[in-house]
Amino acid sequence: MRVNVIVNGEAMTADDVWEGESLLYALRERLGLPGAKNACEQGECGSCTVYLDGIPVCACLVAIGQAEGRSVVTVEGLADGESLDEVQRAFVECGAVQCGFCTPGLIVQAHSLIASTSGVPEDAEIREALAGNLCRCTGYEKILDAVRLAAARKAAL
């Protein structure tokens, strides 16, 4: 089937899509956007997190046909050209990235948390918001640092 999706603000079309395919597969294999990662394909790891109509979801659990006509924002869509988003910048500065596999999903999820809170969220709130994003490398401390830094910078604006 043919599917039309607005990805990072741009209308995109994919043809000959298998009906059981996930949004994640379509993004990575058909639309040239490998930012969202494929790790578990069962909603457990969060590395495929993208915005669907402004709400963070696991792209591996959205059937591609369910995205028809809707708006998707991936980690690629957060930066403005070469200029990184505040959350992306904070991850780099805090050393919150090791192998980087979990990073795109964490950045989208953290971006959503920061967008919906005023000021710097409490640690418990950050942990709860990121509970569905697994990282095998960092031990999470630097990820928390990055979220606090990005939130503080946004609050100071």
Partner: protein
């Protein structure tokens, strides 16, 4: 595989009547896992996301009618004050991303004995509003679960909404798992006090082939509680309540826990949730 995209409720019912073998998909948090892991390929997917009617909830005569498309996140944010038991259970589902997509209707469709919405729905006497081109019916929640992953829907029926009465007293939910997020319940328990009719509701999860109530425990406790004087529940009463709850279950040994552990944990959860509920009722 076919992908059906009805945009109205009437079209969705017509599609399901014409293709009863089609698998409805709402949040996809159960359906897509099965497809991704190749555990079975549906002949057709019937996408309910475009059906606007399903995204609303409404309230009438002390009941909430929650459309099948209302996510856990919205239920928690918008209805948590009126349905504290269901909201507590919803908060324990998966992760934020899962709660943003997953729905109570999907939980009912899947009818897993471990589904977290089931115990609070049982404790508060919810109704499942099922509809087909033949008409609409309200299925009492206690008659909805037929077996492991089997429910009372006919092949041409869809869930339109879940109807839950406003909480008329304290409601609590408790769930055992290895961490706070992303756990399938080892076992779970919900209690609801109904002071207006001096009744007690219960729901047991993940400790029998289907979610179920503990009728003997409910009856016993309703008769023992000091509804007017609101004096403390004697330890012996709480202990007996826990025992009766555990006795209503018929758990098995599996990868998540043993039979004996589940029986023990249920009695503990029953006593604890009763403690929280009674403390709230006494206003202390």
């Amino acid at each position: 595989m076919d992908f059906l995209r009805p945009t109205t409720w009437a079209d969705a019912l017509a599609a399901k009547a014409e293709r009863p073998e089609a698998t409805p998909i709402q949040g996809g948090t159960d359906v897509m896992v099965e497809i991704n892991l190749d555990k079975g390929r549906p002949a057709a997917l019937l996408d309910l996301n475009p059906v606007a009617e399903l995204r609303d909830w409404s309230s009438e005569d002390g009941w909430l009618r929650i459309g099948a498309g209302v996510s856990y996140t919205r239920l928690i944010d918008e209805l948590g004050d009126r349905l504290p038991g269901l909201a507590q259970a919803s908060r324990t589902v998966g992760s934020p991303q899962i709660r943003n997509r997953g729905t109570v209707a999907g939980n009912l469709g899947a009818a897993s004995p471990a589904g977290d919405s089931h115990p609070p729905l049982l404790a508060s006497d919810a109704l499942v509003e099922a509809e087909s081109v033949r008409g609409s019916r309200l299925i009492p929640i206690g008659e909805f679960y037929l077996g492991v992953k089997r429910n009372a829907l006919e092949p041409d029926e869809l869930i339109r909404a879940v109807r839950v009465p406003y909480a008329d007293g304290p409601q609590y939910f408790s769930k055992i798992g290895t961490r706070n997020a992303m756990v399938i319940a080892v076992c779970s328990f919900a209690v609801a006090l109904h002071p207006s009719r001096r009744g007690v509701g219960t729901g047991i999860g993940s400790a029998a082939p289907t979610p179920r109530r503990a009728p003997e425990a409910e009856e016993f406790l309703a008769g023992e509680l000091d509804w007017d004087g609101r004096t403390a529940v004697p330890d012996e009463t709480a202990r007996r309540f826990g025992e009766l709850v555990a006795r209503a279950a018929s758990p098995i040994d599996d990868v998540r826990g043993t039979r004996d552990y589940r029986v023990h944990a249920l009695a503990v959860m029953a006593r604890r949730t009763l403690g929280w509920a009674w403390t709230e009722y006494r206003g202390i």
